[in-house]
């Protein structure tokens, strides 16, 4: 039996400073996340410079805690994995620089990991039997990707957003109805009290790629609706707006995902990313998959949000495949899925 591979993973692409230790790509030994969300709430969104400053203050602490929580020392670690894109460049640079320095000083291999590939790989941690090929919908504040996972580390993008990410639309609508930041969980909660059929918002289709998404029209429709109510002096039922808006997003996400599964005769489907914590989305996907006899996978909320355990899982499969990054590894804010620098 071969030796266990322990990956120390670091993630700092947005507003979470995170580190984790993952064993053999599947077992999360520790998962430490320092969330800055309270800092950014003041500004209604993530401020890159503030995020970067906080990352540098917290990076050593989260790494140290990740090792301690896992009950290991750096000597036990096989390789260091780090998110190098996509994300906020200043934020990414903190994690990348720290990871490189640790790899250098400890003589361990360094592995740059794609943030979205990490989100997809979060599904490996709690589903030991999940193996490619499968389809995955990655939905977060920054990304909306429908991906076919051909093999470990091999991805085909079937569709992505043309404008706003799904989570971004949630944030913008939440702001418009006075829910504040972050919008996703707040809309999810408020929509429990609303009627999702109360208002019909559009479901955008993108003509040249049926699997692409567009949410900016939906966002505008919601804003127009709110303006219209104000002009007419009608009171807005915020719960109905939240529920109807959310229904519109979910309908599109579900229909695209299911159509792609059918076209590829795929039998396994996973969701990932921050918006994958949305209870209504999860329920809708689960039902749709059940109806079609498709196995449905989703990570726990703690593995949906930005975290380093997912980077450890992705890093493990890169390690096995022989991927090694140099000390010149740079942060790439618009790194494409499947790209290797």
């Amino acid at each position: 039996m071969s030796e266990d591979v322990l990956i120390l993973a670091i993630e700092s692409s947005c507003d979470e400073t995170a580190a984790a230790v993952v064993k053999n790509g599947r077992e999360c030994l520790s998962n430490v996340i320092y969330s800055q969300i309270d800092l950014h709430t003041l500004y209604g969104g993530v401020v890159p410079e503030i995020a970067s400053r906080k990352h540098i203050e917290k990076v050593n602490q989260v790494i140290d805690k990740a090792l301690k929580d896992a009950g290991v020392t750096l000597d036990d670690i096989t390789a260091i994995a780090v998110t190098y894109g996509p994300g906020l460049v200043g934020a990414l640079l903190v994690g990348v620089s720290a990871a490189k320095a640790i790899a250098f000083a400890s003589g361990k291999p360094l592995i740059g990991v794609h943030h979205i590939e990490g989100h997809i790989c979060a599904n490996y941690i709690e589903n030991p039997t999940l193996e490619p090929p499968f389809h995955c919908l990655v939905v977060s504040g920054g990304h909306t990707h429908l991906v076919r996972v051909e093999d470990y580390g091999k991805y085909t993008i079937l569709g992505k957003t043309r404008d706003d990410a799904a989570g971004e639309a949630f944030d913008k609508v939440a702001r418009a109805i006075g829910l504040g930041y972050p919008g996703g969980p707040k809309i999810d909660k408020l929509s429990n009290e609303g009627n999702p059929e109360a208002i019909v918002f559009p479901r955008a289709k993108v003509s040249d790629n049926v699997y692409d998404f567009s949410f900016s029209g939906l966002k505008s429709a919601v804003l127009n609706y709110l303006n219209g109510c104000e002009m007419k002096g009608e009171e807005v039922n915020r719960a109905d707006v939240a529920a109807s808006f959310q229904k519109s997003v979910i309908d599109v996400l579900v229909s695209h995902s299911m159509e792609a599964l059918a076209e590829h005769h795929a039998s396994k489907f996973a969701i990932a990313g921050g918006v994958a914590s949305n209870a209504h989305l999860r329920e809708a996907m689960e039902t749709a998959c059940k109806e079609r006899g498709i196995e449905f996978y989703h990570p726990s909320p703690i593995l949906c949000t930005d975290n380093a355990a997912m980077i450890g899982a992705a890093g493990y499969y890169e390690y096995i495949a022989g991927t090694r990054s140099g000390y010149d590894l740079n942060a790439i804010p618009n790194l494409k899925l499947g790209e290797r620098a």
């Binding site: 602490q61 790494i63 750096l74 460049v89 620089s97 490189k100 000083a105 000390y327 740079n330």
Partner: protein, 236 residues
């Protein structure tokens, strides 16, 4: 004592290794490549060529700021990572003060100026006393170049300027400063990690050090978003 020095506060990226006051190695780059791509490869190269044993390093001296926010963080994260693994302290050094050590023993005033954008410079006013120690006459700060030149005129002493602000503000200085001045020669004008490391050695011996986890750059400025928020609240 063995100190690794790092400066990535400006366009220059510089790393050095000093042992008991002697510069064993120094590597400086001033091209357009990002520190993220060059800084650690430079350290790696230097360690190999100078046959440095990382386990023998007593501390890492780092230019803690002021300077480019991103540049400072790349240096800081690099220092923090190495210091964490090797369990050694970090000696934080003001970029301005380290620059003065490029001109160690110079008579008269020394005035580092770094382009801080928005018409300002990161600066301070210093001189070396008879016993060779660095005296601070104006604490490291961000000022408009005009304000700085007024302060310098009050001293009525010869002043030597250095730093990347020299090229940017040369004409302004010529126009406004009526007291005698000169500019540091090219080899000593910009950040040098040997100065950071040698000055760091002096500070370390005085007990000035931080643990790797708590080290962070000194920016001297708030982020734009914070500034705007406070301005708005101030008006409200």
């Amino acid at each position: 004592m063995k100190i690794l020095g790092i400066d990535s506060s400006g366009n220059v990226g510089s790393v050095a290794y000093v042992s008991d006051g002697v510069v064993i190695s120094e590597y400086t780059l001033n091209n357009k490549k990002t520190h993220s791509q060059t800084l650690l490869p430079m350290i790696d190269d230097m360690v190999k060529k100078a046959e440095i044993n990382l386990d023998e390093i007593d501390a890492i001296a780092i230019s803690q700021g002021p300077g480019s926010f991103t540049g400072l963080r790349i240096g800081s994260a690099t220092a923090k990572g190495i210091a964490y693994v090797k369990d050694i302290p970090i000696v934080p050094v003001y970029t301005t003060e380290a620059l003065c050590y490029n001109l160690y023993g110079e008579s008269g005033l020394i005035c580092p100026i770094m382009d801080a954008r928005r018409g300002q410079v990161y600066t301070g006013i210093f001189n070396f006393s008879e016993d060779g120690s660095l005296e601070t006459l104006l604490e490291t700060t961000a000022l408009s170049i005009e304000e700085l030149l007024e302060k310098l005129a009050e001293f009525n002493q010869q002043v030597t300027f250095l730093g990347d602000g020299v090229d940017v503000f040369k004409d302004k200085i010529k126009e406004l400063l009526k007291t005698p001045y000169k500019f540091a020669f090219g080899n000593n004008r910009l950040q040098r990690a040997s100065s950071v490391a040698l000055y760091g050695e002096i500070l370390f011996e005085k007990g000035i050090k931080q643990d790797a986890a708590s080290h962070a750059p000194i920016y001297l400025r708030m982020s734009q978003a914070e500034r705007e928020r406070l301005e708005k609240e101030g008006k409200a």
